[in-house]
Symmetry: D2
Subunit: 235 residues, 4 copies
């Protein structure tokens, strides 16, 4: 269902995340995905208002940035997973550092997403909470120290032990979950390091969304992911 | 910008609120709007994922159910007003009883929506908070006692004094704001009473979204609004 | 019930706010209160854990920093107003910028506090929300622009128009409520300005709680309040 | 530091939880504790306003119902762990179903409580989240299905598999943590079942706090805990 390595792009609510600008960045992501023969899973994660449009226009995987931990019903202004699913998206980001959830809500969403056949990418702030999340058996976990998010200082450079500890702690309770590196990922070197240190790719945002030439950054990172995977991880 | 009387339909996150079912109800609303020569402002308020589609397909006013009180930027999973505006919608529901906001957040949203030329419909639970909201000068206020929402017991029947007190208290601080009646609106009689008691229409949800024949309910309510307006309120 | 002018001291959760340190600052406040013959209402506002002790040991008014907008019952870890009242305190701070509440919650607390004979001091961020709160008829309102809180830059100096606009806007909907100035109050000059600009005193925190000699700062401010009141406001 | 078996009494915000009524129930708990020679760890968990008083008057363990996941500083109306610790209490309840926390907040509190030498009792709603919490290494975990809380239908009777699954799942990631049974515990039989099914006692609230004779219920439950522990669990 999901290939490795992974380049997941969180559009956040940046001025480039929606409308024609957002769609253009998503199309660049699709172009790069095709250039690499589909060997790197490039995932775009736009605001909820863009989900239908993105799925109509794109062949790559699209995730929602969030879903609300409720069932369908009288829930004005909330987006339960069923509403998200109906847009055609492939998966959902859960518990991003800018949108943290209660533990019981994470469990609710992971459990229900499984039933709805939606891929779950759950964020955590430190290796310990990454391992706690791993017990709930999501598809993908990204460990992102909040103090590095948006700084341009990659966790894989500044705190490589966070990456390796995450892998060790998460693997001690869950052998199968895919692990990503996040926070501060800025260059293709950071992507290489993320994979070299034992994770399956990156969750990236500002380095692409705020770039002068987003397509170039996406291409550099996707190529780095491809090469690092071939070199360090392919069996 | 907004005509009176008003029939505002909150789709909430009901199973009928999104996808083809949601669009069909919205098209029924448009049909009724046209039948009445545009003399009743029929507003549809679907989940955020449906906003672009609704605006592409419909000529009637579309409002968002909620917006997040933030500026554009690193706000994963949130929808600032600029993102909402970009979908083409006409306005936004704020502070619904199922999605209450802090007072400073209501003020932030009303102030910013004005700059973005978005109509604001702010909900309140009792006449006193309705009057407090009126000080912030939104376009429309709906007073909805939460204990009646979804019950089928109309506030205009069960607690007509809530409606008249709301009008009195709100008018004591704001002469211009449009006032709606909400909570439990189920029949065309309830719509008639809402206008007779001095408000400009209704905010309704389950009576339409859970109806066997939503179009019929919309038509009955819109016609009642039209007649009541002609009878009681037209100068 | 409450005298003017007022010097309200928010202990927050500073290291000096609780235990023996907190009690010592509160006793200094009481000493200054007595020195001025009770002509300045000095109010101490410590963390919830300290309320009983403060009321046992002090004669001056003690307020809680917050109360939770719930009735008594199954509310683990929350403090409804009845629990707060039972400690013997005189009033409660509501909607501080570090603990904002929903509009309906503010109304719930103000209404219930009145029944329990507790004085309400409600904070607001800007003149507009101050006026909105005034509609709910609390006893005291403090307008504190959040961007100045804790900066040492007094609103009465940096933005005197916030103070005068607050007074004008609040008075347009409520003739009786007591108005305080907050945010950045650091010196006796700031207290003088607050009263000269038309409010009845100040809500202050860090300037006292982080002072080397809290008693001296309390005395300077209370004396300034007394003199300014005599000079500008006494009829 | 903690003995087994455990009878932990959550006072919640019931009318009997504070003031003289609350203290009387706590003294009954102490009396029963002494009658049983200290062989059952009876823990009382009152509202934050009562913590200092309880510690002055009682020899048994006192826990706080909640702590806020912040450091000391400008946190009006919040109670960081340092403030809680200063009252002299022995531990803190975290993530009760009526006061759920985000996963990162639970981790913050468990980690910091350890440094402050406070015992942590973390609640979870289902065995899966119980196991997730166990990864964070608190001292005690209570698994309480929210749908049973306050019903008088004990989880150990209605859903014994929740108890046994919790033990299995939690033990698969953490060999040392103490496990309690919660939700609906009403009789000494429920306490017996909780221990027979493999946990070390119960977290109980309404059955004691709403009892006509709280002391009798405490005694019955504590004796049942003592006997069950001797029979099923003592090595």
């Amino acid at each position: 269902m999901i290939r490795e390595p992974i380049l997941a792009i969180n559009f956040k609510a940046y001025p480039t995340a929606f409308g024609i600008k957002g769609l253009n960045i998503a199309k660049s992501a699709e172009k790069v995905y095709k250039e690499l023969g589909g060997n790197v899973e490039v995932i775009v994660i736009p605001p909820a208002t863009e989900l239908r449009k993105f799925k109509e226009e794109l062949e790559i995987k699209v995730f929602a940035q969030h879903a609300d931990p409720y069932d369908l019903g009288a829930r004005t202004g909330y987006l339960p997973l069923e509403v998200i699913k109906d847009t055609g998206v492939d998966g959902v980001l859960i518990n991003h550092s800018e949108h943290r959830l209660r533990l019981d809500e994470i469990n609710f969403l992971v459990t229900k997403a499984k039933k709805l056949d939606l891929i779950t990418l759950v964020c955590a702030d430190v290796p310990e909470t990454g391992a706690a999340v791993a017990v709930l058996k999501p598809n993908i976990i990204a460990v992102e120290p909040p103090e590095l998010i948006g700084t341009g200082i990659a966790v894989s450079k500044a705190k490589p032990e966070v990456v390796t500890n995450s892998v060790d702690l998460i693997r001690s309770v869950n052998k199968d979950v895919i692990i990503l590196t996040g926070a501060g990922i800025s260059t293709s070197d950071d992507v290489d390091a993320a994979i070299r240190l034992g994770t399956s790719g990156v969750l990236v945002a500002s380095a692409i969304m705020k770039a002068k030439d987003p397509e170039k950054v996406i291409r550099d990172m996707a190529q780095a992911a491809y090469k690092a995977w071939e070199r360090y991880r392919k069996k």
